[in-house]
Structure formats: C-alpha cells, structure tokens
Subunit: 435 residues, 2 copies
Amino acid sequence: MPASPANDPTLRSWIDIRPTDDFPIQNLPFGVMETPEWGPRVAVAIGGYALDLYACAQLGFFDSIAEDVPALGAALPKVFRRRSLNAFLRLGPLAWRAVRERVSELLRHDNPTLRDNELAVRTCLLRQRDVAMLRPVKPTNYVDFYSSLEHATNVGAMFRPDKPLLPNWRHLPIAYHGRANSIVVSGTDVRRPQGQYRPAGQETPVFGPTQQLDFELETAFVVGRGTAQGTAVPIAQAEDHIFGLLLFNDWSARDIQSWEYQPLGPFLGKNFASSVSPWVVTLDALEPFRVAGPVQEPPPLPYLQTASDQHFDIQLEVLIQPAGSTVAPLVISHTSTKHLYWSMAQQLAHHASNGCPLDAGDLYASGTISGPTPGSLGSLLELTQRGTQPLLLPNDLQLGFLRDGDTVILRGYAEKNGLRIGLGEVRGTVLPAAE
Amino acid sequence: MPASPANDPTLRSWIDIRPTDDFPIQNLPFGVMETPEWGPRVAVAIGGYALDLYACAQLGFFDSIAEDVPALGAALPKVFRRRSLNAFLRLGPLAWRAVRERVSELLRHDNPTLRDNELAVRTCLLRQRDVAMLRPVKPTNYVDFYSSLEHATNVGAMFRPDKPLLPNWRHLPIAYHGRANSIVVSGTDVRRPQGQYRPAGQETPVFGPTQQLDFELETAFVVGRGTAQGTAVPIAQAEDHIFGLLLFNDWSARDIQSWEYQPLGPFLGKNFASSVSPWVVTLDALEPFRVAGPVQEPPPLPYLQTASDQHFDIQLEVLIQPAGSTVAPLVISHTSTKHLYWSMAQQLAHHASNGCPLDAGDLYASGTISGPTPGSLGSLLELTQRGTQPLLLPNDLQLGFLRDGDTVILRGYAEKNGLRIGLGEVRGTVLPAAE
C-alpha cells in the first residue's frame, strides 16, 4: 500500500512534543482511556496528551471521513465509547486509516480547526496523567510464539542440553495458545502465583509460591481484520489483517513451568497474568522501520516465503526498579525486534494455514526476544542462567529471579533519521503470594 | 448441597417420553435454539421438544421464582433472548437451580399451569427437529485436559516409547489452552485442514491436507460461576463453579500435531475445529451418577485431595457413518467417564490454584477418554495403532484415519435404576480440504 500522508516526517503539531517523546504526530497510536466523569473512551496519544475520539466525533470532526467510509459513519460516535478497540477494529482497515489520517490533519501545526477552538481543545484533549488507561483490546484469543532463535537456543540448552533446537524450529514458527482473560494493562500489580513444582534434587513435587518468577520481553500484534473458519491467508496478504503492535510481558513461573510443560506445553506457569502496554502503534506508523529479517536456512516452505521486508527494527529495553529502591529504574537488557527469526506475516500466515479463524482483537505475542549478546537477553532465566548467576545491581543487590515488590518495565521505540515512533511502556509490580 | 426436587426419579411429565430418551423430566438440560421467525432463544430439552424459556418468561411462568432470586428477576425475560447461555450463567447457581426446578414443576404430569393452556403450549413448546441449535456457550477460554491414564499411556507409548507416562502425570492434571473461537456446534461440517507435517522416513516437511485426521472422544464442563484474578478455588468448592457437561469432539490432525508439538504442545493440529453437543446437562441432573474415581497412587498433594465421590459414570459411544454409506452408523468404541483418573473438581481446583481467573462460559474438556479394553479407546490413533491396523467395517471397508465424507457421532448417557440422563450427541462430517 502507498505510504500514509500521516507518516510524513516533516509534519509538526501545534501540541508541544519533545524529540524523545514516544508519541509524535507521525505515531498516533490508539488506546482506551477512562475517567470517572466520562467512562471509557477510545483515544489517540499525542505527546503527553490523549485525544478523546468520542468527543471529536460528537463535535463533528470526523464528518468529512464518515461519508467516504460508510461503515465508520454508521458506527460514529458510539464506536468510540467502548471499553475496548474491538468494535473499531471490526470496521476494517479503511476506517482505521481514515481516522488516523484525519487525526493527523487535526493535530497539524497549520490546521486551525481544533487548534483555535478553545472549547473543543478543552473537551477533546486530556493529559495522559489525568486518565486511567484500560486494556486496549478484549482479546478473544491469545497466542504466544517462540520466534527468537537466540531465546529458543538458550532455553533449549537449559531444558534439553542434548538437543537445544528441535528439528521443527527452522521450518515453522512454533507457538501455543495462552490464556486470554488474564491479560492486564500496564500498571496492574501481579500477584506471585502458587503452584506445583519439583525442587531440584527431589523426587516428589511440592505446592507453594513460585521461587522462580520471571518476566519475558515480547511484542504482540493485534489482529484487526478477522477471517472466517476454514479460510487460509496467503502470506502476501497477512499484514492486511494486522492492526498494530504493543509491548507484552509474559510473566512466567519457571519452576511451575518446567515441572508441568511436558508433553502439552506451558500452562499454569504462564496463565496467571500477562501485561500489555496501553497504546497500540499501528503497522502504518511503523512502515519507515521495515528491515530484512535474518537469512532463513533452510528456506521455508512456499506458504511462508516472502518477497518483501516484513521485519521491523524496534529497540526494546528491560528495566528493573528493585523492591524498596528509590533510584531510577535500571536497564538490564537492550535488544531489537529485528533479531526475530520469524516475521509477523509468517506467524499469521502459518496460524491461518489450517483454517483456524482469526478475530478482531486477538493478540499474537512474539515469544521472548533475545539478541545475540549477553546484554540483549529477554528473560531472567537467560540473563542469570536460571538464577545461578545473579545480576549485580547497585547497593550490593543480587537479582536472580523476581522478588516481591520488584517492578519490571519494558520499553520500546523505533528511531531513524530523527523520527522516533515509540510503543510506550508496560510496567508491573510483583505482589506477595496470597495467604 | 441437598438433592434437587427436580431429580426425583418418580416424576413423570405430561409430555410423552420414551424410556430410551436422553431428555426425561429428571434431566432438563439447557441450550440455545434459533428459528427464522423468532431468533435465538434459551431453551430446555424435554423428550423430543425444546421449551422456549423466553416465551415462558413473557407469559409470567417465572414470576414466582423471580421474587426469590432478584438477580434473575432483574434479567428476565431478555436473558433468555441471547445467542449463548453466558448471560444466564453469570446470574449464578441460585438462578440456574430455580429455573430448572420451576421448569420441572411446569412439566409435571399433574401440573395444569402449562399443560392445559393450549395457546401457551403452542407458543413455548417446539419440536427439536423444527429448530436449529446454536453453540450453547460463547467460550471466552477453552482448556483441554489429558486426564485418562489409559489414553496418556497409549499415546505416550507411540510418541515416546522410552517413557510413555511422564513423571508429572500422576501428580497433576496435565492440560493446555486450546482455541476458543473455532469451537462449533454439532451438525457443523468440518473441513479437512492443511498443514505442515513430515512424512515418515523423510528429513524435510511438506505442506498439504492432513493424511491423519482423527476424532477425540471427550466430555467438557462449562464454567458457571467465574472467579477474580488472583483467587484460588479450594477443591471442596470446585463443583460450585461448574454449571454442567456436554460432549466434545476434539478433531485432531495427527501428522501436523506430531511434527509441531515439541516443545510447546498441540497447536495447528487441533485448533482448526472442535465440536460440542448442543445441550448442557447440569451437574445437578448428574448427581445420581456419582462414583468413586480410580485409586490415585501416589496420593495427590493436599490441594487436590477430595473426601467425597467426584467422578461420574457416564457411558460414551463413538459411531462412524462411513462416506457414501446408507446403513446405520456403526459403534466403534464404548467407554465411560468413570475411567478418568482426574475428576472435574481436581481439574478446576488445579487450574485455579495459581490465581488464573475463570469466566462463565469457559469450556474445560477432559482429554480423550479411553478405557482399559481394545473396544473402549477414544481415538482412531489408538483404535488403529496410528493407522497401521485399520478397523474392518462392513462392505470390506477399512478405516485407518478419517476420509472425506465420513461422519463421526459421539453419544453419552448415564443410566441407573431405570433412570436415563443423556448428553445427546455431537456429530460432524468431514469436508474435503480447501482448494
């Protein structure tokens, strides 16, 4: 598709935005905010503000595009007064693009429509710090891939030293179904799960709070356009079904996971909670950051072969704010989505190849993203060699696995030629296990 | 809880019911029907009829219980004009029991309220053959267990001859998350999936229609009362969260499954479709069929220990109507849910033990149910030793895995002292792979 006019790197907004901000006028990610007075509202992030799309629609700011996109026109304004983006996503790519481009127009420095309407600005533009962000989608299904070669090799070497990378791994993007209803938005505390695990050296398992709580650094794509059961998606069309991306922390209890996972995969070691960032950055906004992926050898089967660049270079960071610490969060890992072996298009085409239906709002996470160097690993499992080599933090603190009170923050942004498109952050603090 | 008055084995209805019928007055399962004229309606099965609960509510037949159960009163009648039972389930156990017991009263041979009101009978009582049954719940989550010792041992021996039963199996009910949005109601055709698999003796995989399409004989319980994230469920209270049971066919593509499943479990080999029976039989109705489960050795950890009988003896049959055949479907397997090693209460308590939230409408399937004898195996994988020993059917037909046009029918019923409580059936016909 042609580049969106909303991506023009020369655009400037009448809203003041710092160069290090994640949400310049070229980004315009979608989320759902809530205020006690007004309830849930679909919003777009711009700098430190959130633009209330329901208020914009009520004030007639979308009337011009409603005529061009009848499905959107019929759904306005109420599609923007929902607790999730799902209804908006079901309107389809024409609607998403029309809204993003119209919002871009409204926010341009030389457009007086909104800028000079003081009452409208007061109504539509809220400071992000004054609103609560909700989980942006209600996922009907959640899938977690395993698409980082480095992560799969690192973890495989711990669990199966004889065969770290299984024979199927380079032929298909391995994945499993996760739990959709335990996904929470950034800022939600996560309670340390209890569960069954077998302590090292013991024959029989015990039940209690996990001793090996971990994070996983991931991104996830949000399905926009769904499919009917029995319908495959050719890989050249796979991206048409992707609305955008967010950050994803797939909290994991390693002791529970390693005891339960054979032969049917992860279950209670994962499904107690996953955390997502509140703003979904559209694939359109990430267009300038396409890169070629790693060389795939052996070449995949034809249904997974792509002609164009379908990887993206998004910088990712993991930060830890240790329990009780008042210093700034510490970066403990830095990597990029460009290291992923399988692209989102390959993941989606593979998933749909057997006719499994896709729904608007589905979340497809990448799996832990680890790079090739020690400082680019996406989990404590890898960073600490299963807890045996703790990270040394200031004040003589050693971090093996997560302790109660620790806060984990994932951040992501793409940057090129002075343009920065950020994913924002996802954070969560560990609460003690239930009594 | 005390036995429901609706379970009284001496009850008779003014509707004519044959002794071999699945739906006598002691059963009263819930489902969702649809007619072109009236749209979706929650219904209760009685003999060959479906009782329209929306019409009953409109005619005031639930007014007497609406006072006792305010949540129900507030939701009537519209809770019965939905496309799924989910909203009804969210009203809680008091509402489910009050409705079942009131329906039982209305259908008793000596109660003239409905019986002698010809106009009401015409409005409320439809022949099942005149209505379309919908999927009874919209599952927000679907989990598949692996709780038959015989099935786990049989399959383990094929995939891992060196260690058929893994060390964790007798300590916890192994399970994985499946795909919720590809679950279809009985009668829906199932398209043969395509996928990636590695033919025997080859080094590299191919992509194409599965050559090893199979069924799996399962039951599934429907969650009624949900839980909040972070909350465990003590095993003594686990059944309070279960609304009822249905039949479940977990269609499986064995070649795709065996190539993809390591290390994260089944994915595309399963998620193209699963089929459910349309009527959910309440746990209340199954109360007379409780039995002690198998002796569990070693004894499970305390959070999985039960004092009372929490297994049920439900007879299960698999029938095949081969493609092109006009003879009656052939029974190829017969077993019982009593063979399951782990009970539903243990499954639910285990799942909730880490704080993973449960939602009304969630489906938890048993995993393939196989008994101890050759005629009691719950999949073609086991019945034919992975296709190497085909079943011999009439007319010199050999059945290895499923062929296009084959119809699979699962039936289930509990029977004791002349009382038969049936689950009905779930059926599906295999369509050829997409072009």
